[in-house]
Subunit: 262 residues, 2 copies
Amino acid sequence: MTERGQGDGTVAKALAVMDEVAGFGRPVRFSELLDRSPYPKATLYRFVQVLTKQGMLHFDPDRQTYAPGLRLVRLAHAAWQTSALAPIARRHVDALSDAVGETVHLAQLDGAQVLYVDKRNARQPIEMFSAAGKVGPAYCTGVGKAMLAFLPEADLARAIAQQSFHRFTDHTYTTEAALRSELAAIHARGFAYDREEHEPGIICIAHPILTRGGRVLGAMSVTSTTARETLEGLDRHLPRIRAAAEAIAAEAQDWRFPDAAE
Amino acid sequence: MTERGQGDGTVAKALAVMDEVAGFGRPVRFSELLDRSPYPKATLYRFVQVLTKQGMLHFDPDRQTYAPGLRLVRLAHAAWQTSALAPIARRHVDALSDAVGETVHLAQLDGAQVLYVDKRNARQPIEMFSAAGKVGPAYCTGVGKAMLAFLPEADLARAIAQQSFHRFTDHTYTTEAALRSELAAIHARGFAYDREEHEPGIICIAHPILTRGGRVLGAMSVTSTTARETLEGLDRHLPRIRAAAEAIAAEAQDWRFPDAAE
DNA sequence: CGTTCAGTTTCATTATGTGAAACTTGGTTT
DNA sequence: AAACCAAGTTTCACATAATGAAACTGAACG
């Protein structure tokens, strides 16, 4: 019995298979899964059968391929409504996006990664799941750093240990030390910048969403490009983004995330 | 509620617990789950532990409540992109909604239920997960009937066996015989109406989305109210909705759902 | 036909999940 | 404060359910 997320539990293994299928991003043959799977043929086969019968996977009999199933969409609907900030935040994200005319992201921390739970693109009116559900690195995005900066040390250490510190651009922080000093600055300042750390030419200003007790609920960002905007220019959105973050926190507080002690 | 997660498989049981949690629509205490669960305390407890550790549930330590977890959102993103019609159909749903100025639904069949995978509301510009993921009955909605009418007999029989035939309104078909004759009419006509069968005052015209091989991919509908519109009035949207359905089918065909034989 | 490859089934073995009961914790009553 | 209670957690003998090597099917190809 290993301590890894894999070794224990049939359910964990089945979910790992789900991740595997989802990771392909397209319908996938049994044999393709088998190649990447640590399990023997019969075992994988049974998992896939069970998951299909359960509606977690969809089997296309013509092509003989498996894809993530519709039951997931149903469950995700519930996840979205119940546990994500998005439904609470929607009004505020809308308003902010209208006011600033730039792309607005709403993100939460999912383990050590940033999970984008909502996105508003000023020009193109609608982005659906295509935006929600996307994950990104925490150490080199505005929202990621904004959240990390306000994490308790224990959680932060765990999260940092899982960062890849891949150098996406010349501005990416690639060491724990560098990141930690940046996080300290963010903590002191109260919000974060992304100085083209993830993608060249892309900058943003990001603000954490915190409970009164200081717990990190998520973060919000306004994104622009160096072609149109400077970091200083983004600062003019600060009052709006801060107000939105605080409004979301206040509503979330009353509604779903009350702190224990106050 | 459903007949899922019965005697077979640990994975099935765990997923049944997920459904249970999702069904509450709000963060839920362990004891609340226990009340509704067929499993003894220790068993349920272990499931909830495993699911939480796996990120399928989120535990709020302050309130001691469980809610669907963010891993679901991540997985659903993949499900959405890979297996749902929505990403392919989006452009067409948008265009149709703009053109007709009424609410447009895009649905797929999930077992015996209708799963709404996209929705465009003419007035309110954006609806996110709040609409996507919703489920409804197949036997008394326009999209449901449009899909049932083009199902192979074996699948249809299975689907019909699972309908509740609850009488929502005076117009609801409440027997298999009545439904079957309605389905025959729809099949002959090529599209379906909802004559206030699900909600009083709500009518719609719905068109199936079929592969060239005749396989049911989904359905699309334009909804209105008896206050504003008549069934005959909705007919004027038929060319547009049919064109959209065919365009979606054509794209889906090439892209993801090629028929085996042609 | 014989070979190969993808997918499916079998079955003895053993790991895993099971659940009654005991225990812990924290709050409420007497 | 002792007694009580309810919610949540852990234990452990037992039985069910998962495992995976190997055998099987059935196309597709030459």
